[in-house]
Symmetry: C2
Subunit: 425 residues, 2 copies
């Protein structure tokens, strides 16, 4: 939903080259509003939430709103009955028109790298008369939501998108925000727009079928945002890491909710929701993560790569004397308890060279290029205490990489915070 508040059009004579020169300063204030719901069994016929959202005051006048549903094939594989359930849900709603059986798209990064998939969504939007008052519902992981979001944002300059994220990462981070994207020129997220959704529906029942790597990987973003913004949430994660690793759903509910809330607050309050500046304060650990994902040819999940990125930047900060060693130990212990690797083969052996595109160090410059302007990297001086730096010492980074290889090799032995492991740094 969009709403414009006040207005300001000024004219001023600048008189640069001619006395007929004039300037109008255009000021367009816009407010985007959308709900993020945390619920379960969304397509249960008894559940009215989805119906209420589609037929709400924003709905199109007169005819029943038209709805196109796009579903991640990984979700369909995990919930074979879902397709029929979605059709039954809409069949029971006289005031909604499902324009076609749910469209299935490949789950995971594949759908973002194949331009034909966006083309298929566009074709369906066109063929089924989805207009700016109709809805596209996307059900899937972060990759499918990014791709469908891009298709929906560019069709008719934006049709309404309802996101139903089905992974931990998308429920607590990617799907609650204002971005979409697909890959191009072999580069991740090269194409995309900023386009707030119509609504986000976080259905916890989807999370039960996730592979362990997706259940755990998504917690990297919770750890990330806790380390940047909320020491108490970090302590909660520390205390609940064993339960989370054992797939305790109630613990996951809290982790997802608090993480999403912190991300939402950041977007609303950062002063830069559409990221025009050079810094992206939430992208802690992400310069390395993006590079590792790409080096692994997207075999590594985003969350898994972020875990390594967090470990790397924390180790770098500790080796630089920025982050106290005790904090470093606690952070690496949480990662260990969550069974998240802190080193992967793509990180290399510590003989790294920033000018070599196969080296993780080249990710620093790529990160700068994607944002434009000056290199700006968030680091930690303590838990919940971020700081921005504008360069990273390559020697210290190489030492951090070597150290993490050792830590990973001993991951099954004692926790780093145990008195027996002092002096690792």
């Amino acid at each position: 939903m969009i709403d414009t508040q006040t207005v300001n059009v000024e004219s001023a004579g600048l008189g640069r080259s001619s006395r007929r020169d004039r300037t109008i300063t255009q000021v367009v204030p816009v407010t985007f509003t959308y709900p993020v719901h945390f619920t379960e069994h969304l397509f249960d016929p008894q559940q009215t939430l989805l119906r209420d959202i589609l037929t709400g005051p924003e709905a199109s006048g007169g005819q029943p709103p038209r709805v196109l549903c796009v579903v991640d094939d990984g979700v369909l594989a995990a919930f074979p009955g879902l397709e029929g359930q979605i059709q039954a849900y809409f069949a029971a709603q006289l005031d909604l028109t499902l324009v076609a059986p749910p469209l299935t798209v490949p789950g995971g990064e594949r759908c973002k790298s194949d331009p034909d998939v966006v083309g298929r969504i566009h074709e369906a939007i066109n063929a089924h008369g989805i207009d700016r008052h109709a809805y596209v519902i996307a059900v899937g992981g972060g990759a499918v939501l990014d791709m469908v979001g891009y298709a929906a944002a560019t069709a008719h300059r934006g049709v309404r998108l309802v996101r139903v994220p089905t992974t931990v990462l998308s429920q607590n981070d990617s799907a609650v925000g204002v971005k979409n994207s697909v890959n191009a020129f072999g580069k991740k997220n090269w194409l995309g727009t900023f386009a707030p959704p119509h609504a986000v529906l976080n259905d916890r029942s989807f999370l039960t079928t996730l592979e362990d790597r997706d259940w755990l990987g998504g917690l990297s973003e919770a750890l990330k945002v806790a380390l940047l913004k909320d020491a108490a949430f970090f302590e909660w994660l520390e205390a609940n890491a064993v339960a989370l690793a054992a797939r305790d759903q109630e613990a996951m509910d809290h982790a997802v909710y608090r993480c999403a809330e912190l991300h939402l607050e950041h977007i609303a309050r950062s002063g830069d929701p559409f990221e025009r500046g050079s810094s992206r304060p939430l992208d802690f650990g992400h310069w390395a993560a993006h590079k590792l994902e790409s080096l692994s040819n997207y075999e590594l999940r985003h969350g898994e790569a972020v875990a390594v990125g967090i470990a790397l930047d924390c180790t770098y900060a500790a080796l630089s004397g920025l982050l106290p060693e005790a904090d470093w130990r606690r952070i690496l212990d949480v990662l260990r308890t969550l069974k998240l690797a802190v080193s992967v083969p793509e990180l290399g052996s510590g003989t790294q060279d920033a000018t070599n595109p196969t080296s993780v160090l080249s990710g620093l410059n790529e990160f700068r290029e994607h944002l434009g302007g000056r290199l700006t990297i968030p680091l930690l001086t303590g838990i919940g205490q971020p700081v921005e730096v504008h360069e990273m010492d390559h020697d210290i980074l190489r030492r951090a990489i070597a150290l993490l290889e050792d830590v990973q090799a001993q991951a099954s032995s004692l926790p780093l915070s145990s008195p027996h492991t002092q002096g690792v740094l």
Copy 2:
């Protein structure tokens, strides 16, 4: 430039299906600001305006900002020295980097209908490292600006776009706004986004080489916005129609400035800058215009089609008793003095059928579909007095079409407002 003001994140327990259900209402306020300059000889080495804009406080830290320039081939044909002039301008600026010689693209609707052209812009943005702190400058008519705008808005989720419109229509309407688009599925503007530019530079010296049809056609939008919003501006157009038709540059300067100003005010104050509602109050005469453009296979220019659309909707309003006959005569006289046709072969012979896609009447439903929701058409009850209607009587429309054919056939004879022509309606 974007700026976020305040913030509001609320949590509320809705308790729909489970007591664990929760909702966060996300509110993201964003303010877009951009200057619209009216100037001349932009690429004259003495003119610092462009340089000032590219190196302003928004510029990227450190390195000279990178600039990719894209030029309409129709503009290059009219100004054969322009390419060299642009290169010389940047060569003289140590603090700016022109990344490549200006890229030439086909002018006019062709560039919006061929997806390869957008692909070429994306390739250049990628190859030359244009990032979110770098600039794309687009020089050309409304079609080229729409197409380059779409490419720039989707690359890296939006690189900075400086628009240099070179036609009357783009200077007074299309290029000062917040929209971009290309055509797809044989439909005009099917793909696009809302993306405010970094700056708009209206250089009046470009207008001197326009064909008469583009000089005059662009004035339709001035007439349109005057009829909707500013009776005094209509009177000014009425008084200056002869001068405008004779290509008086000073009269054109005023027409362009006032028309742009009224469009800018509307976008900022309408409450719906990103057009989420079903009504588009500025699209007076446009339901027929869009259809006529498409029926003519885009041989008709947008402005020419809008002239016919205005004539049609005014005649419809007069025949319906909504618009006083005297006002109708004045409006048609202005069109006649501006040498703008009020009927074209695509309008058909008055034997129209709304279910036939080759009939202009089918444009009513297509207009509704593009906006979604309920059909909403702006009409006039007087000059400067708009009203919205939600249906149009097909019989009266057919009579209006037939009447306009007669008027057009006699266009070279007496003005409609002359005492000798009473009783035409």
